[in-house]
């Protein structure tokens, strides 16, 4: 067995173990961290496939940002709130017994597997040429190729990705502004300055991120505007 195959099996084992722990760990916070480990394993597999940029992306975005987002999501939600009052499909389960409980996920997993292999079979892997051994060349060999593709023939999808990111950003802003509107509705302090058409952009720039206490920012804005 070659070293590459050995490393692949080790990484696959780590990823699968972590993925299994994500769904079985009783502590939801730990489950989030296990998901991070699963992403690390997948990054290692990308590295084995000489997709170095993708491995870096996997670490930077998935391990770094997505895991953080998930953990934030857990911290933002009351865990007691999330737990359902009665288990899902309670009536259905009481009526039809428990035999379908392992059968249904197995069925879904099998269908997913068949779909995956169908798609992978159409990909035409034999046409692919290896980019080159990553061992003999300096790191980041595939990055120029990605750059050429991304801003050459695939420029429009890249711009579409920007639009997608913009919509994600706006979605986050709408969430934040809805909280703001709720605060206006309840009439708590700090609501009067949500929209101030009078003050200029320069004042807001200084103001952004510095105001910890409501009430002080009025003075700050005047000071920054002069």
């Amino acid at each position: 067995m070659s070293t590459t195959l050995l490393v692949f099996f080790a990484l696959a084992a780590i990823s699968l173990l972590a993925a299994w722990r994500v769904v079985t760990d009783p502590q939801i916070m730990h489950a989030g961290l296990w998901m991070g480990l699963c992403f690390v394993g997948v990054a290692g597999i990308f590295l084995l496939l000489t997709a170095e940029f993708l491995a870096g992306v996997q670490i930077l975005v998935y391990v770094g940002a997505i895991t953080t987002i998930i953990l934030f999501g857990i911290m933002l939600s009351d865990v007691e709130e999330v737990q359902p009052q009665e288990p899902p499909f309670y009536r259905f389960r009481r009526r039809f017994g428990r035999w379908w409980q392992p059968a249904l996920p197995l069925l879904v997993a099998a269908a997913f597997l068949v779909a995956l292999f169908t798609i992978y079979g159409q990909a035409g892997w034999s046409d692919l040429q290896p980019v080159g051994p990553a061992a003999s060349t300096p790191a980041g060999l595939d990055i120029p190729a990605i750059g050429h593709a991304l801003f050459g023939p695939y420029a429009l999808p890249a711009e579409a990705a920007s639009v997608l990111l913009l919509s994600a950003l706006l979605g986050a802003l709408v969430l934040a502004m809805r909280e703001e509107t709720l605060r206006v509705f309840r009439g708590s302090p700090g609501s009067s300055r949500v929209l101030q058409p009078g003050s200029g952009m320069a004042g807001r720039e200084v103001n952004a991120g510095e105001t910890d206490h409501p009430g002080q920012d009025e003075k700050k804005e005047v000071g920054a505007g002069t």
């Binding site: 590459t4 490393v7 084995l48 000489t50 940029f53 992306v57 930077l60 975005v61 770094g64 940002a65 997505i66 953080t68 987002i69 934030f72 999501g73 911290m75 933002l76 939600s77 009351d78 865990v79 990553a134 061992a135 790191a139 980041g140 990055i143 120029p144 990605i146 750059g147 050429h148 991304l150 801003f151 050459g152 890249a158 711009e159 990705a161 920007s162 990111l165 913009l166 994600a168 950003l169 706006l170 986050a172 802003l173 969430l175 934040a176 502004m177 909280e179 703001e180 700090g190 300055r193 949500v194 929209l195 952009m201 807001r204 103001n207 952004a208 991120g209 510095e210 105001t211 920012d217």
Partner: protein, 118 residues
């Protein structure tokens, strides 16, 4: 293949083994006398109260999401920066459009005062 990453693999293995061995050694060496005061959660010397799992403000999530958006934007810019010399002015224009779209969103957030902490 992948000899360039052997160093990293060795480093990670040694780091994990170092933690595991030192934890195991200290478990073998230390005395073990648990009592309720020792087992209590340490909270800067005060008696801890309430539950550790409190609900955080949604503002943290906004900043995490905005971070994620610009993190992904950075990923697009990295191959662009590497190949800018070859691709020339067209790639520069493409990246300008790419950045302008997201910068518009940021400006919008700024004007709506969503980025302020309150």
């Amino acid at each position: 293949m992948l000899n360039a990453y052997t160093d990293i693999a060795v480093f990670m293995t040694v780091a994990i083994l170092f933690i595991m061995i030192s934890l195991l050694l200290s478990r073998l060496l230390r005395p073990h006398h648990p009592e309720s005061g020792k087992l209590a959660t340490y909270e800067c010397g005060k008696t801890p109260f309430g539950d550790a799992r409190v609900r955080f403000k949604i503002r943290y999530y906004i900043f995490a999401l905005v971070f994620l958006v610009f993190d992904v934007e950075l990923l697009f810019l990295y191959p662009w920066a590497v190949t800018l010399d070859d691709l020339g002015i067209v790639a520069l224009a493409e990246a300008a459009v790419f950045l302008a779209l997201l910068f518009g969103g940021l400006l919008y957030a700024w004007r709506k005062k969503v980025l302020e902490w309150q």
